[in-house]
């Protein structure tokens, strides 16, 4: 089961992706961001956590960038 939670306040969207294997997480993030742009919402990544895990197929320890 893939789960995405989103909290929105003051123009910030806080996404929490769960249940994705490896870099599928980043691929889903890319799809979401391109659809935002297409729907008139410009997005910049203000913070991203656990990128190494996503890029290393889940073998790396969870760590903050």
């Amino acid at each position: 089961m893939k789960r995405i939670s989103a909290e929105i306040k003051d123009g910030k969207i806080n996404f929490d992706f769960n249940g994705f294997a490896g870099d599928a997480c980043s691929a889903e993030e890319d799809k979401i961001r391109i659809l935002f742009e297409k729907m008139g919402v410009k997005t910049d990544v203000g913070y991203s956590d656990n990128k190494r895990e996503a890029m290393s197929n889940g073998t790396a320890e969870r760590e903050r960038n």
Partner: protein, 164 residues
């Protein structure tokens, strides 16, 4: 696997970013082509209407259809809708131009009107972001539940999406 991403979001003209499209196309070329051709204006219009309806349920905010200037003249352009409060009796209009860009219409002649316009624009933007996020997650195949949490004098929109 989990990941947290915080996006800073601003309303802007609808566009497509070639670097993001290339990344999506590398994973899923059919989806990338579909996104490229997708007419998002009807989705934007629906999300604006839903956001206005959500705003109309907030205490002290009324949903309406027109805005007036300082002299009481009605704005004669096409509006998707408008919002009024006691602090902004002439209203804040929301319009969608032919390219799908959201624009606001209001007379900010008085300083208290100006600050209320900014407050309503922020509230509307969050409500619209919630509706757009809901639509995007549904497009990507998620079942979505959306709720509103009142916290520290403001509103937080919470969405939970799940798919197999």
């Amino acid at each position: 696997m989990s990941k947290i991403v915080i996006l800073d979001a601003q309303l802007a003209p609808p566009q497509i970013l070639s670097d993001l499209l290339a990344k999506v196309a590398a994973q899923d070329p059919v989806l990338a082509e579909w996104i490229k051709e997708l007419d998002t204006v009807p989705i934007i219009e629906e999300c604006v209407q839903n956001a206005l309806a959500r705003m109309g349920k907030i205490e002290g905010i009324k949903q309406c259809q027109s805005v007036l200037d300082y002299y009481g003249n009605a704005y004669d352009g096409k509006l998707a809708g408008a919002l009024k409060t006691d602090a902004l009796p002439n209203g804040l209009g929301v319009k969608i131009n032919e390219k799908g860009t959201i624009e606001f219409v209001a007379d900010e002649y008085q300083s208290e009107w100006k600050s209320e316009i900014k407050r309503l624009q922020k509230l509307f933007t969050d409500a619209f972001l919630a509706e757009i996020t809901n639509s995007i997650l549904q497009i990507l195949g998620y079942d979505v539940e959306i709720s509103t949490i009142a916290k520290q004098g403001g509103l937080i929109y919470s969405l939970e999406g799940a798919k197999q």
